[in-house]
């Protein structure tokens, strides 16, 4: 057992920190306030390789590993969760599944430009009636000659409106239930594809979550990902990988909030001394830092398990469950230490607290993670 990061990871971490501090942090409050999608940051992320970190070089990625991906998400999430949401959805939920399940042609056509940032990816599983109960898919795909015809809608789709490459889950044979689901690579330019209502969200307000509408949307037959009937399996395995990214987001957010809090308590004076000199403050921070340390071990471990090609699904669920709950807990406790100023938008802590909440919900709620973990334990 080795708890040390390798030299390349340390150097990458240093780069992520500088990038986060100089390129991402200055925009964070503005993106939230204006609910603005950071197109300019995405260009910079692409330039330095963020859009395809865990993908091999032959498919346009950096050739780095999941641990590096996690380190990048952790560092960027310390300063802006919106930004990490955009590129984790792109990487974990679009580039990675096409790399994992796609044909060589699909990989060349989509994974390469996705990793280079020439395309932006998204993933559509959730429907108005199919949230946690993802098997209740209503979107249909019917094969007609050399193409499928898609009809239906998806909601809460991260990157929608800005993405041009979507993985869409749709029913090809309703009689087979989850085994009748298939996955498709859908380009936004295909006829019959449109983006609907944009949700107004509580947090990660710079990222988008719109409805996708398919009205006789024509998808070429060769854009079927995997085989017909593989859709649910692909979606679930994709979310397994995605959870590692969300765990890293939540971890980074908790660390970022604590960093802001430590800075604040050293400056703020009450009763004639800095509030960092009160034992309550010290104990709060010690407690939070201890939990963050544990969270970090969970996240790094699951990344290493994936890199070693070992079973990682239960660990991904545990990491996501623990880290996302911790992000909400830490941001709330930090805001309390900020007091009234924490409640104002003068400081980033209220934004961090609002952002934290989504990590307990997207890519499987905390309850879904408990279902995965208890299922793995075979206790029912």
């Amino acid at each position: 057992m080795d708890f040390n990061l390798k030299k390349e990871h340390l150097l990458a971490q240093e780069m992520f920190r500088k990038f986060a501090e100089n390129e991402v942090k200055p925009l964070a409050a503005e993106l939230d306030e204006e609910e603005r999608f950071p197109v300019e940051t995405i260009e910079k992320l692409a330039k330095y390789g963020f859009m395809g970190i865990p993908i091999p070089k032959q498919y346009g990625g950096t050739g780095a590993d999941t641990l590096t991906y996690v380190l990048s998400v952790e560092e960027i999430a310390k300063v802006c969760l919106t930004t990490t949401t955009i590129y984790t959805a792109h990487t974990s939920l679009c580039a990675h599944p096409i790399y994992q399940f796609g044909t060589e042609e699909q990989k060349q056509k989509y994974v390469v430009p996705l990793c280079k940032g020439e395309r932006l990816g998204a993933f559509g599983l959730t429907e108005p009636g199919a949230g946690t109960d993802a098997a209740m898919q209503q979107t249909k795909a019917v094969l007609e000659g050399d193409h499928y015809v898609l009809n239906g809608s998806k909601i809460f789709i991260t990157n929608s409106g800005y993405a041009d490459t979507y993985i869409i889950i749709a029913m090809t044979d309703k009689s087979k239930g989850t085994k009748g689901c298939s996955a498709f690579i859908v380009e936004s330019s295909y006829p019959g594809f449109s983006v609907g209502k944009k949700e107004k969200k509580m947090g990660i307000r710079g990222s988008t979550a719109c409805e996708l509408i398919f009205e006789n949307c024509i998808v070429p037959k060769e854009n079927l990902l995997g085989k017909e009937g593989d859709g649910f399996k692909i979606a679930m395995q994709t979310l397994d990988v995605g959870r590692i990214g969300i765990a890293a987001q939540a971890l980074g957010l908790a660390e970022g909030a604590l960093n802001e809090c430590i800075k604040y308590v050293k400056e703020r004076k009450q009763f004639g001394k800095r509030i960092s000199q009160f034992q309550n403050t010290q104990f709060e921070i010690a407690d939070m830092r201890t939990k963050i340390e544990a969270a970090q071990l969970l996240v790094y471990k699951v990344a290493c398990l994936k890199d070693e090609k070992k079973q990682f699904s239960p660990n991904a669920a545990m990491a996501k469950l623990y880290c996302s709950q911790l992000a909400s807990e830490v941001t709330t406790r930090c805001l309390q230490l900020f007091g009234g100023y924490g409640f104002t938008r003068e400081y980033p802590i209220e934004r961090m607290m609002r952002d934290a909440r989504i990590t307990e919900i997207y890519e499987g709620t905390s309850e879904v993670q408990k279902m995965v973990i208890s299922g793995w334990l075979k206790i029912n």
């Binding site: 390798k6 030299k7 390349e8 150097l11 990458a12 780069m15 500088k18 990038f19 330039k47 330095y48 390789g49 963020f50 970190i53 070089k57 990625g61 950096t62 050739g63 780095a64 590096t68 990048s72």
Partner: protein, 263 residues
């Protein structure tokens, strides 16, 4: 164009604190960085390569730990890296350092050598110019701009109140100011290539034997001896002008500066 950039790994002086008891630098836990002027030199070299083609080799003399500085340069996009390291080079002053680096450079093929103007830990600004003298090539120091015209380099050389545009034939050496270029980030792929696919070549005294006079190496070959180092005591409190208008304050400051021949 074959470009060689000489870099030094230095403690990040923005993070250095003084031990209040001993008045010495606390080096423990202080991160090491590529000297900022040198890093601007790397950026300028990479931009020149992107413009006219060629290669960028980065050379550093230092302890084995300087490896990470060279990996960083590789991750920014440099093609090759050489670490000149040997116990025999320890304790070098600028003369011994420039002698050693020149010996290494004699083994390389180059059109342009870039060094930083000066390192933030020593602030001598001597090593670059000395290397040019050892190699017998023209030098232009304090470069804030660089371009190529045919076989010549056009350098914008900074002065306090003006700049000169100098055309210099290759091979030549220039010393870079941070203004020469805002260094790019390492790329993520570049970092992994730097460790997994590229190599930092190690050159010891053995490799330099035929190009160096060993009398010029290390502590023994260093004519500079540091006699004493001390922390400067703060001067007096200065003059405090209270209850004056902004105009009066400006007049007072200008008068004082003129009195001291600063302006």
């Amino acid at each position: 164009m074959k470009i060689v950039v000489c870099v030094k790994q230095v403690p990040d002086t923005t993070e250095v604190k003084l031990d209040p008891k001993t008045n010495t630098l606390i080096r423990e836990g202080v991160p090491s960085i590529i000297n900022p002027d040198d890093k601007a030199g790397i950026e300028a070299a990479l931009q020149l390569k992107e413009k006219v083609g060629g290669s960028v080799t980065v050379v550093s003399m230092g302890p084995p730990q300087a490896d990470v500085a060279l990996r960083e340069a590789l991750a920014m996009g440099c093609d090759d890296a050489i670490l000149v390291t040997d116990r025999a080079f320890g304790g070098s002053d600028t003369w011994a350092t420039s002698s050693t680096l020149a010996a290494a450079l004699k083994k390389l093929d180059y059109d342009l050598i870039i060094t930083g103007r000066q390192a933030i830990d020593g602030d001598t600004a001597q090593v670059g110019p000395q290397i040019a003298e050892h190699l017998g090539i023209p030098q232009v120091s304090y470069a804030e701009g660089l371009d190529v015209e045919g076989n010549n380099i056009i350098v914008k050389r900074q002065f306090e109140d003006r700049y000169h545009v100098i055309e210099v034939a290759t091979p030549c050496l220039i010393t870079a100011l941070t203004e020469l270029g805002e260094p790019r980030y390492m790329s993520i792929g570049g970092i992994f290539d730097a460790y997994r696919e590229k190599e930092v070549k190690i050159w010891t005294l053995e490799e330099l034997k035929d190009t160096v006079d060993q009398a010029n190496l290390g502590l023994k070959g260093s004519p500079t001896k540091v006699k004493q180092s001390f922390t400067k005591q703060a001067k007096g409190k200065g003059t405090l002008l209270q209850d004056v208008s902004a105009d009066e304050a400006v007049d007072a400051i200008v008068a004082k500066l003129q009195e001291k021949y600063i302006i």
